[in-house]
């Protein structure tokens, strides 16, 4: 089956928009995006494991989670649920934190993510609109992370940074 995947970026407004179709009913897709035991099964990538410490899916609640490297180093992220419209959409404020959910002292980047769901026939379309408060940290990271030099260390750092950002998308 050919499932739509659309990824667009509006640099002027710091917004990334991702649209993806999934071959399942709305109920099931909603579940895999909102339940810890489901999220942890698919959020990992490239050998990194997703781990949820807390997930309180209600307005005012939070999702404290980490990406864990094969060496067992954890990168923590926090998603605070601002608005939930059941089986339709939810909005989170995403930031970096420590294992207890205290804000990161080194990375203040935050973003606002709205994930919305549209039911089709045997297909559910999910749209993720991620508005970064500031892309400055990102640019600084690219400048400082050895990215230009293309060193292995630089790429490893980039991967780590991507991890924390990716966990912020709630996808």
């Amino acid at each position: 089956m050919n499932l739509l995947f659309d990824f667009t970026v509006d640099k002027a407004t710091n917004t990334i928009c991702i649209t993806r179709e999934f071959a399942a009913d709305l109920d099931l897709v909603w579940e895999v995006f909102t339940k810890a035991e489901m999220l942890d099964q698919w959020m990992g990538f490239k050998g990194f494991r997703a781990y949820t410490k807390e997930l309180d899916f209600q307005e005012g609640g939070r999702w404290l989670h980490a990406m864990i490297t094969p060496e067992n180093v954890a990168f923590w992220s926090l998603a605070e649920f601002i608005k939930i419209d059941p089986k339709s959409s939810f909005t989170t404020r995403n930031s970096f934190c420590d294992e207890n959910g205290n804000p990161s002292t080194t990375n203040f980047t935050s973003s606002l993510t709205e994930t919305s769901f549209k039911a089709g026939t045997g297909i559910t379309t999910v749209q993720i609109v991620k508005k970064m408060e500031s892309l400055e940290q990102l640019e600084k990271f690219i400048a400082n992370g050895g990215f230009k030099e293309g060193t292995a260390a630089g790429y490893a750092n980039l991967d780590k940074f991507l991890l924390t950002l990716v966990t912020k998308t709630n996808s």
Binding site: L3, F5, F7, V9, K11, A12, N14, I16, I18, R20, F22, A23, A24, L28, V29, V32, M38, Q41, W42, M43, G44, F45, K46, S134, L135, E136, L138, E139, K140, I142, A143, F147, K148, L158, L162, L165, V166, T169, S171
Partner: protein
């Protein structure tokens, strides 16, 4: 002074300037003709773009031409491309999970 590239694109006039000079190198006067603002404001925007390391200067006779340093913009594209690939990989895992869940329920 070293500025952040995102300060450059935060302003609509500066975005319009970037679009103009991406097509061809232009003098400050030629750039100013496209806008309904003072020459001083244009100079200010050009200075900021220059501090963001987005402008290349080219002297031709008595005129200075500005053009866009495209490499700088590409760094962001490279990062976004990696991000896109990671999302693709995660979604493929999710496809598999959904497939397994559906089969279990049957």
């Amino acid at each position: 002074m070293r500025r952040d590239i995102f300060q450059a694109i935060a302003d609509p006039t500066r975005r319009a300037i970037l679009v103009l000079i991406a097509v061809q190198a232009m003098t400050p006067n030629a750039i100013a003709e496209h806008f309904d603002i003072t020459r001083q404001s244009i100079s200010k925007h050009l200075r900021i773009l220059s501090e963001c390391d987005l402008l290349a200067h080219k002297q031709e006779g008595r005129e200075i031409y500005y053009e866009l340093k495209i490499d700088k913009m590409k760094e962001i594209d490279i990062w976004l491309d990696q991000f896109r690939k990671i999302m693709e990989e995660k979604f493929q895992r999710l496809d598999q999970l959904l497939y397994n869940l559906k089969n279990k329920k049957k």
